[in-house]
């Protein structure tokens, strides 16, 4: 079964198509990344996929069921980690899980049987009876993730699950997500962190202006869309270097006080830069962020 299938999906607000003929198909058991600049239509796509809003055109099939007609039945088999914190501040950790499980029609006994495993998954065993106000930001995110698993979903939506977390907390979330992937769950993840997408996702779809502009594994996307090496150059003598850089590298892009030089042969560029005392540089392999910026541009989208 295809966990989620979006076909020619369109959603307009005030005549402007926020989602514009979008096609997307998830493979069961894989982690999918949905990347895109602000306003590209990620959140609207997620809301359409859950049957929370109605499309103006196209079709959504979630867990094999047509939406919005069978949205409630489909959502029974799906977990959601929303972007904004929506834990119940009046409840303890345990009560949050218990109450949320009831929304899925589970009995208190069924949920109670699942709670120890959920607490262990979130690393919150010692916090079971703590109020939410006693949790750190990372703990809250982990609890939100555990809450999304209370119905043992086959597919989990994660809307920017690590935004605002410190590196330690992010790594804990990543460990959790890897465990879910190894359990065979399907994940759909939106994020602004390209390293996160590169680490976790098997398949990435980059959205811009309401449609998927490219799709592939992180490696495929990097191989297909960008030169393998990047040399970032900055310093007082940048203007002079900018004039002659194209002789040494295939493609250059200036962003503020930095020149990004994309090349297949970094040795020549580096050797030349070593001769220029007014410049500093950073040589690194190309990554997903380079692909993302190349395809969606460097302009701000807010």
């Amino acid at each position: 079964m295809i966990p989620l299938k979006l076909t020619r999906l369109t959603k307009r607000y005030h005549g402007v198509a926020v989602v514009d003929g979008l096609d997307l198909e998830l493979e069961a058991g894989r982690c999918h990344g949905l990347l895109g600049p602000n306003g590209a239509g990620k959140t609207t796509t997620l809301r359409l996929s859950l049957g929370l809003i109605e499309a103006d055109g196209g079709a959504v099939e979630l867990m094999g069921l047509p939406l919005p007609a069978q949205a409630a039945a489909a959502r029974r088999r799906v977990g959601v980690v929303p972007q904004a914190d929506s834990l119940d501040p009046d409840f303890t950790v345990r009560e949050n899980l218990l109450t949320y499980g009831r929304y899925f029609g589970l009995t208190g006994r069924e949920i109670a049987a699942r709670i120890p495993a959920l607490l262990a998954f979130a690393g919150l065993e010692s916090k079971a009876d703590s109020p939410i106000s006693a949790l750190s930001g990372g703990m809250k995110r982990r609890l939100t993730l555990a809450r999304a698993l209370v119905n043992d979903p086959e597919l989990v939506f994660l809307d920017e699950p690590t935004t605002g977390l410190d590196p330690q907390a992010r790594h804990l979330i990543w460990q959790g997500l890897r465990r879910l992937i190894s359990q065979g769950k399907t994940l759909l993840l939106t994020t602004h962190f390209m390293d996160e997408a590169e680490r976790l996702c098997d398949v990435i779809s980059i959205l811009d202006q309401g449609r998927v502009i490219v799709r592939g594994s992180p490696r495929e996307l990097i191989a297909a869309h960008i030169e393998p090496h990047v040399v970032e150059v900055f310093g007082d003598a940048l203007a002079e270097w900018t004039r002659c850089a194209s002789a040494y590298c295939r493609r250059c892009e200036q962003a503020g006080e930095t020149l990004f030089c994309y090349t297949d042969a970094p040795e020549a560029v580096v050797a030349e830069l070593e001769q220029r005392p007014g410049l500093r540089y950073l040589h690194r392999p190309a990554n997903l962020e380079d692909v993302f910026l190349k395809l969606t541009g460097r302009d701000l989208r807010d």
Partner: protein
């Protein structure tokens, strides 16, 4: 389909669990404010007044206090508390990601506010019984369904106001333009017959007036006139308010 009819229950239960944690101060709050009005005005002002409609002023005041206490409780719950859950805590959004629908969430809120306001009504009723302010004990039992209907009515109306509120301050309009006029014109403190004819005609349409037209005879020991009409009016206001609330909230959250 059976499941669909009770899908709202986990939402009701969520609110009940939160309330249970703070039940004592909540009950005290439900009771203290209307009691102070009733006893202060009833004894203080009542001492200066001759009998009102043939009974001591305190007895007269009891029914109005009960109705307005139920109204207040349902209104506060559907404005401030529901708004916190909908807008500030994102509780509704979290629930909408589960199999429950917005209708389930709002039915849960409607029935919860109704239940909580019924409890306010019961608190006042206990005082009425304790102080012997009633005419016929058996008839006062009918105040329970009256309180239930009144709570339902104001919960439905409150949810409609909640649906269009950008922030907490907005609720003041509803209090100033609807709740306060109802308290002053609906017959809490004096019989509507004391008003000029044109004003009494306006007051007759107010939901709180219908509630008091039912409650007052029941407290004082007679069967209300046009009981069915008043009951249907409360039910109608509540249902109209709720269906408007559902439409407006859908537009607010699910567009």
């Amino acid at each position: 389909m059976i499941e669909g009819l009770t899908a709202w229950f986990p939402v009701w239960r969520r609110n009940f669990l939160v309330w249970k944690k703070l039940a004592a101060p909540s009950l005290l709050g439900n009771l203290a404010d209307p009691m102070l009005y009733m006893l202060g005005l009833g004894y203080g002002l009542g001492g200066l007044l001759p009998a009102v409609e043939g009974v001591p002023y305190l007895n007269f005041l009891a029914a109005g206090t009960l109705a307005y206490s139920v109204m207040n409780s349902a209104t506060f719950e559907t404005l401030y508390s529901a708004f916190s859950r909908m807008h500030v805590q994102k509780t509704w959004e979290a629930i909408l990601n589960t199999p429950l629908t917005l209708k389930d969430v709002m039915l849960g809120e409607l029935f919860w506010a109704t239940s909580k306001s019924l409890l306010s009504g019961i608190a006042i009723l206990l005082v009425v019984w304790a102080l012997g302010l009633y005419g016929d004990f058996a008839l006062t039992l009918a105040l329970l369904p009256v309180a239930l209907l009144t709570g339902f009515c104001f919960a439905g109306l409150g949810l409609a106001v909640n649906a269009v509120s950008p922030n907490y301050d907005f609720f003041l309009y509803y209090f100033t333009l609807a709740i306060t006029p109802m308290i002053l014109l609906g017959g809490v403190f004096y019989p509507p017959s004391a008003l000029p004819v044109w004003l009494a005609a306006v007051a007759a349409w107010l939901p709180l007036t219908h509630a008091i037209e039912l409650a007052r005879p029941l407290v004082l020991g007679s069967i209300p006139d046009s009981a069915l009409l008043h009951a249907l009016a409360l039910l109608g206001y509540g249902m109209a308010g709720f269906s408007l609330a559902l439409r407006l909230t859908r537009r607010r959250l699910l567009k």
